[in-house]
C-alpha cells in the first residue's frame, strides 16, 4: 500500500504541482496567450475527438508510421550491405556524412517543387530525414562485429545471408536500436513540419491554422496532442526495444553488477 502511494506521489507529484502553478498564474493574471489548464483540457477533448481525429490526426500518424518504417527497413538493409564491405564503406562515407549533417527541413522547398504538396512528398521527406541515423548506426554496428564471433561463424561454415541473420545482425542490434531511437523524433519533427507548407490537413497544419486564427486554447490543445504523440512513440519504442534487446540488457545488468 505504501509502495503504491509512494509511486503515485513520485509520478504525479511534480506534474500536479506544475499544473496547479499554471492555474494559479492564470487566475491571478489572466493572459491571452496562456489559457487556464481547465480550458485547455476541455478544448482538447472538443477539438480532437471529433472529425479531426480522422481528418488530421490519423492521417498524420499514418504518414509518420509509414515513413519511419520505410526509413528503418531501408536503413538496415543498405547499412548491412555497406557495413560488410570495406570498399563500399569508404565509397559512401563522405556522401552519407554530408546528408546526415544536412538539416533535413532544408529539403522541403525543393521536394515541394519536385513532388508537390502531397502525401508522397510528406512520406518521402520523413524517410529522407529519418534514414541516416539508422543507416549509419547499422553500418557501424556491422563493421564492428566481434572478431571472435566472425571466426566462430567461419569455422562452422556459417556464411553469407545466414551469417548476417544469425550473427551479424543480432550482434549489431544494440547499435541499430540506438539509431532507431534517434530516428523516431526526427521523423516526428519532419511529419509536423511537412504539414506546415501548402497543405490543408494534418496535425502540423492544424496547429498553424489555430495560431493564425488566434484560436489559442485550440493551439495549446494541439501542442498537447503532439506531446502525447511524442510520448506514445517513445513508450512504444521502449517496449519494442526491451523485448528485442532482452539479452543485451541482461548482459549489461550482469556487467554493471560486477
Amino acid at each position: 500500500m505504501r509502495k503504491a502511494l509512494s509511486w503515485l506521489g513520485f509520478t504525479f507529484g511534480l506534474p500536479v504541482i506544475l499544473i496547479f502553478l499554471w492555474w494559479l498564474a492564470t487566475t491571478i493574471s489572466p493572459s491571452f496567450f496562456f489559457p487556464p489548464p481547465g480550458e485547455i483540457l476541455v478544448t482538447f477533448f472538443e477539438t480532437w475527438f471529433g472529425p479531426r481525429l480522422w481528418l488530421d490526426v490519423l492521417p498524420s500518424i499514418l504518414r509518420f508510421g509509414i515513413g519511419v518504417i520505410i526509413a528503418m527497413v531501408l536503413g538496415v538493409v543498405i547499412g548491412v550491405i555497406v557495413g560488410l564491405n570495406r570498399d563500399l564503406r569508404a565509397l559512401t562515407e563522405p556522401t552519407f556524412e554530408f546528408f546526415r549533417a544536412l538539416p533535413a527541413p532544408v529539403l522541403i522547398p525543393p521536394l515541394l517543387l519536385l513532388i508537390g504538396p502531397n502525401d508522397a512528398m510528406k512520406i518521402f521527406i520523413i524517410v529522407l530525414a529519418a534514414i541516416w541515423p539508422v543507416l549509419l548506426n547499422t553500418v557501424e554496428g556491422v563493421r564492428a562485429a566481434d572478431s571472435v564471433q566472425n571466426e566462430t561463424s567461419r569455422s562452422y561454415g556459417i556464411h553469407g545471408f545466414s551469417r548476417v541473420r544469425y550473427q551479424v545482425l543480432p550482434g549489431a542490434a544494440p547499435q541499430i536500436m540506438a539509431g532507431i531511437r534517434q530516428c523516431l523524433p526526427i521523423g516526428l519533427i519532419l511529419m509536423v513540419i511537412s504539414e506546415m507548407f501548402n497543405t490543408t490537413a494534418g496535425l502540423g497544419f492544424a496547429i498553424i491554422q489555430f495560431q493564425r486564427t488566434f484560436a489559442i486554447p485550440e493551439m495549446w490543445s494541439g501542442i498537447l496532442v503532439l506531446g502525447l504523440l511524442g510520448y506514445g512513440v517513445a513508450v512504444v519504442f521502449r517496449f519494442f526495444e526491451r523485448r528485442v534487446l532482452r539479452w543485451y540488457h541482461g548482459l549489461k545488468d550482469l556487467e554493471n553488477a560486477s
Partner: protein, 281 residues
C-alpha cells in the same frame, strides 16, 4: 624479422597488421570517398539532364556549384550565415547553462531524480516544432522565436546526458571526498565534473546538431532571418539554382559544426583521460 621479446607473437603481429592495414588503406579510402562523391554528382547531373526530375526544379550540379561560388561572394549570404550561427550559438549556450545546472542539481539528489522522472519522460519526447505556433504568437519574427525552439530541443539532449554522467559518479570517490572534508562545491568540481564531462561532451555534440536543425526550421517556417529564410526566398523567387546552392552551403555548415563538436569532444576527453590515468583505446 622476429617478434620483439616480451611480447607474444600474436599481439605483435596483430598490432603491426592492424597498423599497416590502416595506413595502407588510407589513400585507397580517400580515393574511394572522392569517387563516391563524384558518382553522386553524376547521378544528380543525369537526373537533371535526362528528365528523371523536372529540370526546371532540379538544376544540375554544373549549374548549382558555380552558383554556390557566386553566392559566397555576396555579402548578404554571410549576413544570413551569421544570423544562423548567432541564433544557434546563443540557443546552445542558454541550453547548456540551464541543462548543466539543472542536471547536476537534480542528478545529485536521488529524491529529485525520482520526483522529476515522470515529468522529464513526458516533456522530453515532445517535438519542439510543436512550439512553433507559440513562438510565433509570443515573439513574431524576432530571434526569441528561434531561441524558444532551439533551447527547448538542445536542453533535453544535454540535460539527459548530464543526468547519466552524474549518475555515473563513483559513490566511493564521493564518500572519500566527504571524509576528507571536501565541501559540496569542491566535490562537485573535483569528482562530479570530471566524471560527467565525457557525457556532457556527447550531449553537446548531439545538441549542436539538433540546434542547427531547429534554427533552420525556425527560419524556414516562421521566417526569422537566416539561411533557411534565404532558401525560401530563393524558392519563391524562382531562383532554383540559388536555392540548391544555399542548401549545399547549409550542409557544409552542418559538417563544420559536426567536426567542431568532435574536435572539442576529443580535446576535452584526451585531457580528461590523461588526468584520470586511463589508457586510450
Amino acid at each position: 624479422m622476429t617478434a620483439p621479446t616480451g611480447q607474444t607473437l600474436t599481439t605483435t603481429v596483430a598490432v603491426a597488421r592492424a597498423r599497416s592495414r590502416r595506413r595502407s588503406y588510407r589513400p585507397r579510402r580517400a580515393i574511394l570517398g572522392a569517387t563516391g562523391i563524384l558518382i553522386f554528382l553524376l547521378l544528380w547531373e543525369g537526373a537533371s539532364r535526362f528528365g528523371l526530375a523536372d529540370p526546371r526544379y532540379l538544376p544540375p550540379p554544373t549549374e548549382v556549384i558555380p552558383r554556390l561560388f557566386q553566392v559566397l561572394a555576396i555579402g548578404d549570404f554571410w549576413v544570413a550565415v551569421g544570423q544562423t550561427i548567432g541564433a544557434w550559438a546563443l540557443g546552445l549556450a542558454i541550453a547548456l547553462i540551464l541543462a548543466v545546472i539543472l542536471g547536476v542539481v537534480i542528478g545529485l539528489s536521488p529524491f529529485l531524480r525520482r520526483f522529476t522522472n515522470s515529468t522529464v519522460e513526458f516533456l522530453r519526447p515532445v517535438p519542439s516544432v510543436a512550439l512553433i505556433p507559440l513562438a510565433v504568437l509570443l515573439f513574431g519574427l524576432r530571434i526569441e522565436a528561434s531561441l524558444l525552439l532551439i533551447v527547448y530541443a538542445a536542453f533535453w539532449q544535454i540535460f539527459i546526458q548530464v543526468l547519466y554522467g552524474v549518475a555515473d559518479v563513483d559513490t566511493v570517490a564521493m564518500a572519500t571526498g566527504r571524509s576528507y572534508g571536501f565541501s559540496k562545491w569542491q566535490r562537485i568540481r573535483d569528482i562530479v565534473f570530471p566524471t560527467a564531462l565525457p557525457y556532457l561532451m556527447t550531449g553537446l555534440r548531439l545538441a549542436a546538431a539538433v540546434a542547427l536543425i531547429l534554427a533552420i526550421t525556425a527560419q524556414l517556417i516562421i521566417g526569422t532571418p537566416g539561411l533557411g529564410a534565404e532558401i525560401l526566398k530563393a524558392q519563391n523567387g524562382g531562383q532554383y539554382a540559388t536555392m540548391y546552392a544555399l542548401m549545399l552551403a547549409t550542409g557544409f555548415l552542418g559538417i563544420l559544426i559536426n567536426m567542431g563538436a568532435r574536435i572539442l569532444e576529443r580535446a576535452t576527453l584526451s585531457w580528461h583521460q590523461s588526468v584520470r590515468g586511463e589508457a586510450t583505446a
